[in-house]
Symmetry: C2
């Protein structure tokens, strides 16, 4: 939907820092030029390029990033800020994990399935002046109706029968974040504390390896490997048997991945670290 609605100059800059930013760029290439302004593929996506050092195309309709990369366990620290070129960010895997300065973005979009609600809904926050346009070479009325942000806006997000359950659950989670947690600053503190436990443990031993450059470590997805693929497999099997689920890394990278989204309590992270240490002692 981003290129169909926003690629007004026929070109846009994409920062490829993982799987979903790569897919976003491939999709955009259907509707115009998706210029790869920067990529961290040279080091297997273990870092985020310096956003201030990138040469952006002055004619770009927007700059697109995926702010947290679930598979590789990286996150942007700074985000691109270029006068006159709106920033479009996929925040699916870090939205509401910390406060966001929405004024830095032309469009924020996210699937709700990580930090917000059960899978089945996506949300977009769009700067008003970006609406009502379309990719160069077409007219807004040629965008498939349901892929036109203006359709959804004009119909108060009810052009189609909306996913009521997801909306209801989103409301409950927003209430929880405000009233139970006390806001996103507090949520950020909790997430930082959770991530610190895991990264501190990883940094204090040499059985497990986390390949990500330290400044770009994700607070949502912590990736690590044991010395061998066989041990990785044994780790996941044993962890599952002990109730530590979904630790297998994405098939693109292998190893392990601990997704410690908002809903994961600190106790869950501590339990994982205890398990990791026991497994290390047995297998080191």
């Amino acid at each position: 939907m981003v290129p169909l609605n926003f690629m007004t100059t026929g070109t846009a800059d994409y920062l490829v820092t993982g799987n979903f930013s790569k897919k976003a760029a491939e999709e955009a290439a259907k509707f115009g030029t998706a210029r790869i302004a920067a990529s961290s593929k040279d080091k297997n996506f273990t870092y985020i390029p310096d956003v201030k050092a990138i040469e952006y195309d002055p004619n770009a309709s927007y700059i697109h990033i995926c702010q947290n990369n679930t598979i590789f366990g990286t996150t942007f620290v700074d985000v691109p800020q270029v006068e006159g070129i709106p920033l479009v960010a996929d925040m699916s895997s870090m939205i509401f994990s910390e406060p966001t300065d929405v004024s830095k973005y032309g469009c924020i979009y996210f699937g709700v399935q990580k930090n917000v609600a059960p899978a089945g809904m996506a949300v977009a926050i769009i700067r008003e002046d970006l609406l009502g346009k379309c990719a160069k070479g077409m007219t807004p009325d040629k965008i498939p109706t349901m892929m036109n942000y203006t359709t959804l806006l004009n119909a108060d997000s009810m052009y189609n029968t909306p996913p009521c359950w997801c909306i209801y659950m989103t409301g409950l989670v927003m209430d929880y974040l405000e009233q139970e947690v006390g806001g996103l600053e507090e949520m950020k503190k909790r997430n930082e504390a959770k991530a610190k436990i895991l990264y501190d443990y990883l940094d204090g031993q040499d059985f497990y390896t986390n390949p990500v450059e330290k400044p770009y470590r994700s607070r949502m997805n912590v990736t690590f490997t044991s010395p061998t693929q066989e041990l990785d497999k044994a780790f996941c099997a044993k962890a599952t048997a002990e109730g530590l689920l979904n630790l297998k890394g994405h098939r693109l990278v292998g190893g392990m991945r601990a997704s410690i989204y908002n809903a994961m309590p600190e106790a869950g992270v501590r339990k994982l670290v205890d398990f990791m240490e026991a497994f290390r002692k047995e297998n080191a």
Copy 2:
């Protein structure tokens, strides 16, 4: 998605019998010629054109119908069957209300929110030979990835994170239909019995009016009006107070609409008829 994937000749025949078939035709017109092969607009959509008498375009990529029209309370009895031209049907508001001979269709699609599961998912059943193509003048790789049926098929419907809750609930409802109800023949009998109670009542009095020609009466949505708009309003208010909800007709037609989908028990229909008769006595 239908025109993007199936309008291979650049033109398709649309039967406009209500709001959703009209919207489908408007959408298709973005990607080719959406020819209105027949319409029941001349009598405010109170009937279904004789599908055997329609002159179809031999060059049509497909014939599109909306098989049950929720707003106007009509349903197809026969469906178009033309050698060499696949039939595409939106079955959202009648799927699983009765058995369907899928061999008559090139594509059946439906939103799950009426007879299947909570809102938030659509399902398509597609004849294999129709896949892998696209609207005339484009190539399949230019279809937005998520709107290409082949993407979804190749990824086993998990190209994106799927709406797990809707899928789970669909499974439960399928189990219920098979094991509790005993199959769709039995479901059809129950739905016929429910609709008969309402239509028999409507035919036996002259306070309420159902405008639909009898052969095309929907078994899912029964529309009716009282003598005046004021009484319609009073009817809905009083019904709501007595726990009979959502009886207000769609804003396009006014009056009342009783949606008696699979989930509505016969007792609910009987309660409605009792209420209607009491209201009639008070206001006739």
